[in-house]
Amino acid sequence: MSNQEEVMEGSHAVAHAIKGADPEVIAAYPITPQTHIVEKLSQFVADGELDSEYVKVESEFSAMSSCVGSSATGARTYTATSSQGLLLMNEVLYNASGLRLPIVMGVANRALGAPINIWNDHSDSIGVRDAGWIQLYAETNQEALDMSIQAYEIAENQDVMLPTMVCMDGYILTHTYEPVSIPEREEIQDFLSPYEPEHKLDPENPETFGTVGFPRDYTEFRYQQFDAMDNATDVIKQVFDEYSDKFGREQRGLIEEYRTEDADIVLISLGSIMGVVKETVDSLREEGKKIGAIKVRAFRPSPAQELIEAIKGSDVIAVLDKNVSIGKKGALFTELKDELYSSDVNPLAKNFIVGLGGRDVPEDSVKKIAKKAEKAKEHGRVKKEIEFIDLKEVYDND
């Protein structure tokens, strides 16, 4: 199929990518909107197209637990989940990263209950941002499938050895058909280094994993993880570059800039919303506005340096968060402002909470946001720092 594009559902595109990465073990549990990924993988296995052990666990907790067992045994491992499933795995997520197991997980982003809601936002993966996982966010199905391959090369790098999440918007990507180009299995295998971990469960060399870490050593283990995440920054760039070169993509860097060169106003977000953001930028550019956008492709490690660099020169940044920490703000916004504070780049900053629980974010809403940013620029100050966009009735906080 190489470089031959095909119209395909996002979930299936990812499943094809994973088939090419050839994990030895898949352990997964169904949850909307991740289901089509694992169903497709099941079908590959049933049809003999993929030679993985597929463990049909009884819960997400066991999905990630079986991944831990499998990865510690030296097997390349895959799982995927969403929302409630990711929350249920929470304890195991920390465990996987603390054990330094390069598991790759697809996250079909979905909102959290209560109230139960099966539609897209980012509260799920953002909510586990402390768990020590690398987090990549895809804008398109192409990116989702490419990242699913890249993830193995990043995670399994000896200087990294951290589990990696590939986040894609539930429904908006997973259930949407669009053209993608899927590398051949051989090409993928050729791109990926074989997984040969230094330590694994092996009767030939019987090591003990998951010991008690006393106060004497614990800080150092955490620091090593911290350090590895630091290393990941370069490794990610390198892998993105190599991949782009090999497969003719232009997906480089932890962030992507869009018409930011001379932009006074910069819209910043992550995931599939970037499409409509770019469209909005284009149409506002046509109106003569100096506006640009930044897409965050890696949220962990935090792309601090890249962001500051890209924002330089702008007057106002508007951060669109598809999550909100109740009692605080959107996570991307908070984390970005942290970086801005200690830089000499100091635009006005506004946070917009958008798209919670599948609330659609059409161009009009993004234009509204751009207008608010413009107003801030005019006034030279931010009146209301955080706003929920398209809030109904009494709750409209305009």
Binding site: E53, G69, A75, L201, E207, F209, G210, V212
Partner: protein
């Protein structure tokens, strides 16, 4: 004359209390697995006392992940071995009673149901010992623990001991067995069998805990034996659903003999109404005797 394998796969230097039945159980179980094995272990006394970084008491590859997922982790190990064509390696999952019959029940049930080739060993010391002797589902009725303390209005634990052997068996797995540290040969034979049989198997080992039960360390084995001799802990196997090889008892001892040396039952001998509670326990033993035809004629 030397009957048990000399090789220790669970080595000295572990930090278990003196006289720990659990440590003894693990040591014996590790004689039943060969070197070509991989073990998982749930959080608990066994894990904490045997893996203080940078040291380990384990001679076979061993992985502790969390408290509630030993079975699921083992399932993942086994799947990886299958993927690699290394089915010759045995996989043993271990957990305490709490990690098995309570918080680990879902992951155990799933592993059994899916038919993984894993031998699960539950070390049953009848409470959450590692955290300071709290009640578990496996705590016997009327035992005092720190969360089911005897008190003005309480005789200790109100529920009957959960029958995890029966629950495991209800999963239609090929082999289920109970064992006791007081019967090492029997224990080792059962763990061996559990390992050899293809598919999921479950062995529950009764392991007295001096600290948690409040007895002197020297009578750990004696108490384990008394549990069997009173009929409170029945040694048996269940192969393909059929109960087999029940250990018969010659002169079944009254439960008092077992209860008396243990502080967790002390209130039964002191508090008013204790006698009836002891009688309740005797009835459990009697009903076991009846169900399993324990009494040797």
């Amino acid at each position: 004359m030397t009957r048990l394998e000399k090789k220790e796969r669970f080595t000295s230097g572990h930090r278990a209390c003196g006289g720990c039945g659990l440590a003894l159980g693990a040591r014996l179980a590790m004689k039943a697995v060969d070197d070509n094995s991989i073990a998982t272990c749930a959080t608990g006394c066994l894990e904490v006392t045997s893996s203080p970084y940078p040291q380990s008491s384990w001679k076979i590859p061993w992985l502790h992940s969390l408290f509630e997922n030993s079975a699921a982790v083992a399932g993942g190990v086994e799947a990886a071995l299958r993927a690699k064509g290394k089915q010759d390696i045995n996989v043993v999952a271990q957990g305490g009673d709490g990690g098995t019959v309570d918080i680990g029940m879902r992951s155990l049930s799933g592993m059994l149901e899916r038919g993984h080739d894993v031998a699960y060993i539950c070390y049953d010391n009848e409470a959450y010992m590692n955290t300071g002797i709290q009640r578990s589902g496996s705590t016997p009725m009327n035992a005092s623990t720190t969360t089911s303390p005897a008190g003005e209005e309480s005789f200790g634990n109100e529920n009957r001991k959960k029958n995890a052997l029966k629950i495991a068996a209800a999963h239609n797995i090929p082999y289920v067995a109970s064992a006791s540290v007081a019967y090492p040969d029997d224990l080792i034979e059962k763990v061996k069998k559990a390992n050899e049989i293809n598919g999921p198997t479950y062995v529950q080992i009764h392991t007295p805990c001096p600290t948690g039960w409040g007895h002197e360390g020297d009578i750990t084995v004696k108490l384990a034996r008394l549990a069997v001799e009173t009929g409170l802990w029945v040694l048996y196997e269940r192969e393909e659903g059929e109960i087999k090889d029940v250990k018969k008892i010659k002169d079944r001892k009254p439960v008092e003999e077992y209860l008396k040396p243990q502080k967790r039952f002390k209130h039964l001998f002191k508090k008013e109404g204790g006698e009836e509670r002891i009688q309740e326990i005797q009835e459990i033993a009697d009903s076991n005797a009846e169900k399993f035809h324990l009494d040797e004629e």
